[in-house]
Symmetry: C2
Amino acid sequence: MRQLPDDRPVIAAAFGEARGLAEVVIATGGLGPTHDDLTREGLADALGEVLTPDPSLESELRERFVAYGRMPESNLRQAMLIPSAEALANPIGSAPGWWVDRDGVVIVLLPGVPSEMHLMWSEQAVPRVEARFSLRPLHVRTVKTFGIGESAAAEAVGDLLEEPGDAVLAGIYARDDGVHLRFSTRGDPSLLDAPVARALLALDEHVWGGDDDDLGTVALSALGAAGARTVASWEADTAGALLAILAAAASDAPAARFVGGVLDAGGATATPAADAVIQASLVPMDAHGRSRVRVSVSGIVTMPRSELRIHGSGPQRLRRAAFAALDQVRRAFRS
Amino acid sequence: MRQLPDDRPVIAAAFGEARGLAEVVIATGGLGPTHDDLTREGLADALGEVLTPDPSLESELRERFVAYGRMPESNLRQAMLIPSAEALANPIGSAPGWWVDRDGVVIVLLPGVPSEMHLMWSEQAVPRVEARFSLRPLHVRTVKTFGIGESAAAEAVGDLLEEPGDAVLAGIYARDDGVHLRFSTRGDPSLLDAPVARALLALDEHVWGGDDDDLGTVALSALGAAGARTVASWEADTAGALLAILAAAASDAPAARFVGGVLDAGGATATPAADAVIQASLVPMDAHGRSRVRVSVSGIVTMPRSELRIHGSGPQRLRRAAFAALDQVRRAFRS
């Protein structure tokens, strides 16, 4: 991976070099309308092709701007193509992507805006790359834990990360919601059963879920199984990290429903009404820079107050505190 | 910039190549305790030096782990040094950085954890690099706007971005809190006065601040100037984006004090008590994927309800909605 400055000859040289090294080259960003968006120009130079406005892209772009009033003329640059390029539609932004397949090398240009890039990558680029190179699908299984450090988790699973099995790749990642172990294969998906089973056995009560699970939904499900139909939150000194996670929770049945949350910053003390109220507050850092979070649950479903150590620092610390609270709820109510 | 896989020979080759291209090489990440943290090993190979445990780093590391119980033996790798390397202390994590100055090239290794990397970069690496290369300080001024798109802002300032003046660099960036124009120089700081003045004139009422200003504090200051001593927030369908921004606001005097916020997710409807309550709720997307945010202020300081268009998509949309609400408050109460 390479990050490049907004410099046309540098971008052109990088495309030239990348074409000699790989069968697929992916570039993100630099497709905007301003003078420093030079990815299209750099690629055109690298391929010795000329940029010309594409009439159908231009009319789509003008259409898009009808709702906004006048289109700045600079946006017209987003309607440019080269002969080898096919436009990739951008359903949520103004910059189309490019799909270029020349001399045996595929080059994909995607916008830098993360939501546009992710959507166009998964919906348009991945299926085309898989079809173009006849790839077998990638199977991925993830084991998600909380309450164990990255090195302790790696030690607990023995040589599993170095030797996850034939045709299986393994990785370990420290995230705000805990340490994740990820196993993947382009072979038969059953190849992942054994390493996942070994990880579950070794990491035991630290495991809170896998794959697409999120800790907010897991905690809401535990409270739902314990009899709560509604859950609210109250928090202090966390900048709303707890309610943000709960609001984003997938909240499938039979999970309890999250109905709202309060951040108390020294005045708004009304406690929300729900079958279970998760209460979390940050304890100030001690002299060694260590923090704790106090967590309890009150209502018709209760959990006594406990204090948990938080690892991590900076703004990340607030999300870690919220996940520590939710993991404690998960542990208290698991069936 | 280059991102590398966890592969020792690839990392070694990249360090070898970078040493031939630059006077300063900065690498982040790969300093953790697990088998796939290979930056130290890659650099040692590139320089033909041997890793040995450093007694003082080892005792610091063991000290750090006293509070956590037993230290996993794998953490000992974080106490390794090569003869050319000097350790950079990590006040908030277990991985020290490295400062290597050999054959006229400086190589800096920093941890990948963002909070640790940023702290060690600004407190330890930057002063050393500036001293080592006798650099003149970099002066930066930023103009921050909301309510104007990136291409419209670039058009409004004419040729300012292409020709910001002698020894001045200019850039334009679309952020969640609006479009920022950034001017920098290593010459006299007064060189930035003219381009900043031109930007302020051209962007006029869209400008909400500059440099280290944040839109949360700007809105709290506007409400404070209008007579509110306390501010609370109520929001719906935003996952708490508004209260998160207000909780993180710098909140200098004479700004009103943020006392707390409520996220209503369909049940927790108690409105908080304060001199001014900012209320924001997201209007569902229309058929064209466009959203609006409704915003008003009630209490002893009031603003009638208005609806604002939100640009952007995905999770970013929620922060954009919150910033749009705060910008509307700023516009309503500016003096």
